[in-house]
């Protein structure tokens, strides 16, 4: 399992896109400007601000990692980009257009897997093709779904139901479903959180290959600083709720970082790790409690 079979099949190669050639550098794909958003708590009749003033740009082919204490709004951010929730203030746009809903070019891997318990592994992975026309035949979709399932290490489990699988295996079903359509952007919410350490390394390696070979754009949430450094081009550290961007750290280390084995020996790795850790630690333990905002404008 060296490389995802989905990696170079009919995928637009971002590196040859004409925007890339322009003097302004890589094309911005996801742009949020002063975005503030949150939730309406119906029972408490209150508005909860989850994210404040987020201005972040993710370029085409970029691997953006978000880290931050739990509850800081990482999932909320990814939900806005997916088109599931709308910002209260500010803008969020994708490919130059404001995000008004979900789209075939943005797929998501969910933190809590969100796979249908009444569908087999294969049926779950085929769901995106059932719901949208991705321009491939039924037979091709089936083939691709099977290939993706075997890429995530679930070959032989196509006919199993989620309740027959372990937590890590269920998460891999969610990963396969997110990748099967070869979306322009993969939004991954702690995708390897429940996966065992060995499978995680394999999947991280595959994801890195996908990024290197196909220029996959990824927005990736993780709790692990090591994972952030191993995978990210940039790491955005989000403060505790209401989340703001504390700092964006460039991971200026050459790829492949995982296929070559150890990057942990590199002195730069140690520096980055220390720096990120100090930022995250501040946020995790320095959390002041500002739970509710009566008025989002306030």
């Amino acid at each position: 399992m060296a490389e995802l079979s989905t990696s170079n099949v009919g995928r637009p190669q971002s590196s040859v896109g004409k925007e890339e050639m322009s003097p302004t550098g890589p094309k911005p794909l996801i742009v949020t400007e002063n975005m503030t958003c949150g939730y309406e708590l119906e029972r408490e009749r209150k508005l909860l601000t989850a994210l404040v003033d987020i201005s972040l740009t993710v370029h085409e082919g970029e691997f953006m990692v978000l880290v931050g204490p739990s509850g800081c709004g990482k999932t909320t951010f990814i939900n806005v980009i997916a088109g599931l929730i709308k910002p209260w203030k500010g803008t969020a746009s994708f490919n130059g257009k404001p995000i008004v809903g979900t789209g075939p070019d943005r797929a998501m891997v969910f933190q809590d897997y969100a796979i249908m318990p009444w569908r087999t592994v294969l049926q779950n992975v085929l769901l995106p093709f059932e719901l949208r026309d991705h321009g491939i035949s039924k037979k091709d979709a089936d083939e691709r779904a099977r290939a993706t399932i075997s890429d995530v290490g679930l070959g032989g489990f196509e006919g199993s139901f989620p309740h027959e699988l372990s937590g890590g295996m269920r998460q891999r079903v969610g990963i396969a479903r997110g990748m099967v359509t070869q979306p322009k952007v993969l939004l991954a919410d702690e995708p390897f959180g429940a996966v065992d350490a060995m499978t995680r390394e394999v999947l991280q390696g595959q994801l890195e290959m996908l990024v290197m070979n196909a220029g996959q754009t990824v927005v990736f949430i993780t709790h692990s600083i090591d994972e952030a450094i191993a995978l990210g081009d940039r790491v955005a550290v989000i403060s505790h709720r209401p989340g703001t961007i504390r700092e964006i750290v460039d991971i200026d280390m050459p790829r492949p970082r995982l296929a070559e084995g150890e990057i942990t020996g590199d002195p730069r790795y140690g520096e980055l790790r220390e720096h990120l850790w100090s930022l995250v630690k501040d946020e995790a333990f320095g959390a002041k409690d500002l739970p509710f905002h009566e008025d989002p404008e306030a």
Binding site: M108, P117, W118, E130, L131, F161
Partner: protein
């Protein structure tokens, strides 16, 4: 993926060798295999033997507590006919009296249940799916479902008079609410992250409903139906108790009237028939949920 047949180390198929040697039948083996059946048979035999001994000991009035053998005889006559009724407490007892009343009950019960389930599911779905309908209907649904149903009998009687309509009305009023409420609860509690996943991958409103909400709700509907089947059974017996029928009032009517006529063997025989029917019904629907929604079973354990 097809799996290669398992081979022995020497390459021969495992199938070609005798599998497990046929075990010898010993008492121990028979016991481990059939113990629950054996225990049940012994249990019931002891129960009926004590019944028989107690009833024939002269300690209780046979008008209240009949001998078990009399009940058996009554069951035979009531179900299969051919009774020699002479010298037997034969008030109300006639050939086939139980089976005829049983069919009467079954007829009304099954039609009423079809109506209850057929209306309850769409009402529950609609209430779960629309905030407006929910707001409009829920006060009535919750009030009626909490009210002891027998309390509305006098009103129903005024409206419908004595007759089959009132039976249907009572059964419906007892059986429809579990279906409505469970279906509603299924729709309401549908996992938001499953809905989000469907949306991300392109589901429109109707697809979210068909591909997430309905499958998620199905096991709730099944338990609602289960509950409603047993509630409906209470309803039908209650309705028959209260109905003014003079003949062929159903199995509940038979229990009620035979007791009033001090024909205790018939009362017990009718009751036992009802018990067996209820048992079959409940046991039959118990395995339904496991078959329809195996994932729910697995997540609750």
């Amino acid at each position: 993926m097809t799996q290669a047949p398992i081979k022995n180390t020497d390459g021969t198929s495992i199938e070609s060798q005798p599998r497990l040697r046929e075990a010898k039948w010993t008492w121990g083996r028979i016991w481990t295999r059939y113990r629950y059946g054996i225990i049940t048979v012994i249990n019931l035999s002891v129960f009926f033997a004590i019944w028989q001994w107690f009833a024939s000991s002269g300690r209780v009035n046979p008008l209240i507590f009949p001998e078990f053998t009399d009940v058996l005889r009554t069951l035979k006559i009531g179900w299969f006919g051919g009774g020699n009724l002479e010298g037997f407490n034969n008030r109300m007892l006639a050939d086939f009296v139980i089976v005829k009343n049983f069919w009467e009950t079954l007829k009304i019960y099954s039609l009423a249940m079809v109506i209850a389930i057929g209306c309850g599911i769409p009402i529950g779905l609609a209430m779960g799916g629309s905030k407006w309908l929910d707001a409009i209907l829920s006060p009535y649904v919750w009030t009626l479902s909490s009210l002891p149903r027998i309390a509305i009998y006098p009103i129903l009687l005024l409206f419908l008079g004595i007759g089959p309509q009132i039976k249907y009305a009572i059964i419906l009023s007892t059986a429809i609410f579990p279906v409505i409420i469970n279906t509603w609860a299924g729709v309401k509690t549908t996992d938001q992250s499953l809905i989000n996943a469907a949306k991300v991958f392109g589901a429109n409103k109707s697809q979210v409903y068909r591909k997430v909400v309905l499958p998620y709700t199905l096991p709730f509907v099944v338990s609602g139906v289960q509950l409603s089947l047993s509630r409906g059974l209470i309803g039908v017996v209650l309705a028959e108790f209260l109905s003014g029928a003079t003949t062929l009032g159903g199995i509940g009517w038979l229990v009620f009237r035979s007791a009033a006529a001090f024909n205790s063997p018939l009362t017990y025989a009718a009751l036992m028939s009802l018990a067996v029917f209820a048992l079959i019904l409940v046991q039959g629907t118990r395995s339904m949920e496991a078959k329809i929604a195996p994932w729910r079973q697995a997540t609750t354990t």
